[in-house]
Amino acid sequence: MSLPARLLLLQVLAPLVAILFGAVVASGILLAIDRDPLAVYGQMLRFTLTRADSLASIFFKATPLILAGLAAALAFRASLWNIGVEGQYYVGAILAAYVGFAVRGLPGVVHLPLAVLAGAAGGAAWAFLPIALRLRRGAHEVITTIMMNYIAAALVLYLLEPGLLRDPAQAGTPRVRTPEVLPGARLPSLRPLLDLVGLQIPGYSSLNGMLVVGLLLCVLFALVLRRTTFGFEVRAVAANPQAAEAAGIPLGRVLFTMFLLSGAVAGLVGLSDTLGFFGYFDIDFPKGYGFLGISVALLARNHPVGVIPAALLLAFLDRGAQGVQVFAGVPREVITIMQGVIILAIVVAYELLTRYLRALRKREAARAEPARPPLPAPGEGRRAGEAAGGGTP
């Protein structure tokens, strides 16, 4: 087999091996609780792939994960850590809900985009402080973004206090939420569109336009990173910040822009739920997309388009977990554990692959120039925060 073909095969095999490893670990757990793994997996596949409502559910669950994964990946691509996607989407979602219910008298063509932009602005605003402190004062963004997550959670709780954004109409009920978003700011369902192409999804499915926004953003950012001058600058900065700066690339501006873009995309994560499903922001708003987004970005090796299959994989596992819980009586947590194992296995697999490629390249170079001594290996380790997240992009 030729070398490029072998490399391509390895690239494809690495995630498959990791998924298989996760399945083997989950099988061990299933055997331990006296279940037949193959029967459970069969049940899972039947439930997820042969039912229209399952497929619609997978795409609905994947929508926030695609955006969260893209947000994390954008920061990683500039060798920045955005652990703050979680807090950024809380702020974005509540701001979008606010614009959705408080701004009146606008036609839908203006109102909905305005609400979506408010979400992006909220996310970007929440990302501003960590990146500003990183660039100005050298404060590591891993810890500051984690702290900003807690501050966002408290801020959202505070805003839901009576007299602020809490719906006065719910007074006397246990419901703690904002007023209902106006119809003009609701995200349209994808059902009519899918009907046109002959795909029937059930009426109760909440699959909405945010999925399309997410897919388009993935493609857009893939193109920006690949084809534009800015994309070139980002790649240069990630590969070697000092060299990039010496070559005249404005290091600070590139990092700042990428982090704010990451925050803006993060601000959209909660909108499928706020503007497309519930129609309001409440105290039990879905949490945890931010951390799942980091997993999605890792699975995708930080490629904007790769984020899509990665998010679909996690959404598939999640839906499958519901299926085995209901129909096979297997706790869905087995699948959660499997997700965690897959993620760990995949980062190890990618790391080994990257190292193998590096060794291969070194060997090639040595063959081309036999006189040159090999470069010393140690010291090449990179600081966690400055390193490109998860291997070379």
């Binding site: 757990i29 609780i33 850590w81 652990i83 402080l129 402190l133 004062r137 050298g138 404060a139 590591h140 891993v142 810890i143 500051t144 984690i146 702290m147 900003m148 807690y150 501050i151 408290a154 801020l155 709780l157 505070y158 206090e161 951390f291 799942l292 980091i294 997993s295 890792l298 706790p331 947590e333 087995v334 959660t336 554990i337 997700q339 965690g340 194992v341 993620i343 760990l344 980062v347 190890v348 790391e351 080994l352 190292r355 590096r358 060794a359 070194k362 290996a377 140690p378 010291g379 090449e380 380790g381 990179r382 600081r383 966690a384 925060g385 390193a387 997240g389 998860g390």
Partner: protein
């Protein structure tokens, strides 16, 4: 004037301080763990997950020990919580071992490994709880250690809340601070651990086994985070409850940074955070929205990192994977 006095009375009341001390301990134990792993040069974001493992295994082991060996438990007081604490320490260390394998041996990015372990721990705790107790989110109630009192101080009525009814883990945590400092400054192990965190290549050249030291640092951090979780479940919650760690693993990282990567500093920072924690539970008296108090530790941490309060001085090779000569 009387309002100011009243406020001061509330802020310094013995009951508030007693509650602050109790809330300091879990942050402090995990922060000590963070000091050890980062002194060795390995960042451990997975402390939260290790703490979660500690809460579950601590509660479960205490419960089953008390049920399985009633005669022995009746004869040996505190046997069940002791077994629970032991299990919590082991559980934390077990998850830390995964972190060490992934981040030290395979040199996967340390942050990635920690994030993945946190996700794994949540799923694992839920699954195990279903397996043992049929529900996902909580264990049956358990009894903790026999409380202790401080001699002399307990007889002063004003100090009674602070000096009586204390968990024996509280003095243990303080001993660990002193011991941890001594280990880092005076012992061969501590000096080698720090050398590995400052300049692994130099340490390696001098014949120090970098991987071994880093494994030990990570394992210690897992054991201490597990102990922190065990304390939460056995001594404070009297049972396991999903989410009972409430992000204290991350707060512990903040306390370690605020404490400038030293055990005694971590004690001061943890005490401050524990005090905010206690205060947020009783701010009704202060007429401030409680959310403003709960975010104080997070804001302080950001200020410390930004160098507003003081310059942060992490170990030089903190977070850097180290590759022995190869390839």
């Amino acid at each position: 004037m009387s309002e100011v006095l009243e406020l001061a009375g509330t802020l310094l009341s013995a009951a508030l301080l007693a509650s602050a001390i109790r809330l300091t301990v879990p942050i402090l134990l995990a922060a000590l763990g963070a000091v050890f792993t980062e002194r060795g040069g390995v960042v451990n974001i997975g402390l939260e997950g290790m703490m979660i493992m500690g809460t579950f295994w601590g509660a479960a082991t205490t419960y089953f020990t008390a049920r399985a060996l009633p005669e022995l438990v009746a004869a040996v007081p505190d046997l069940a919580p002791l077994a629970g604490m032991g299990a919590a320490v082991l559980a934390g260390a077990a998850l830390a071992l995964v972190h060490a394998v992934v981040a030290v041996t395979f040199r996967v990015d340390q942050i990635i490994s920690g994030v993945a372990l946190n996700l794994l721990a949540v799923g694992l705790a839920r699954f195990l709880n279903i397996l043992f107790f049929r529900v996902a989110t909580q264990s049956p109630g358990i009894e903790g250690f026999t409380p202790i009192s401080i001699p002399l101080l307990r007889d002063l009525p004003a100090l009674a809340p602070v000096a009586r009814n204390l968990s024996p883990v509280i003095p243990l945590a303080l001993l660990l601070v002193v011991g941890g400092h001594w280990v880092l400054v005076r012992t061969r192990f501590g000096l080698r651990l720090r050398a590995v965190g400052e300049h692994p290549l130099a340490a390696d050249t001098l014949g120090i086994d970098v991987y071994r030291m880093r494994y030990l640092g990570v394992l210690l951090s897992g054991a201490l985070a597990g102990l922190a979780g065990g304390y939460l479940a056995i001594e404070q919650g009297h049972g396991y409850l999903e989410g009972m760690t409430q992000g204290r693993g991350f707060i512990a990282l903040a306390a370690m940074i605020f404490g400038n990567w030293w055990p005694v500093g971590a004690l001061g920072a943890s005490a401050l955070f524990g005090y905010f924690d206690a205060l947020s539970l009783r701010v009704v008296a202060l007429r401030i929205p409680y959310q403003f108090i709960t975010v104080l530790p997070h804001i302080v941490t950001i200020l410390v990192l930004a160098g507003v309060v003081r310059r942060a001085q992490p170990p030089a090779a903190d977070g850097l994977p180290y590759a022995k000569e190869e390839e």
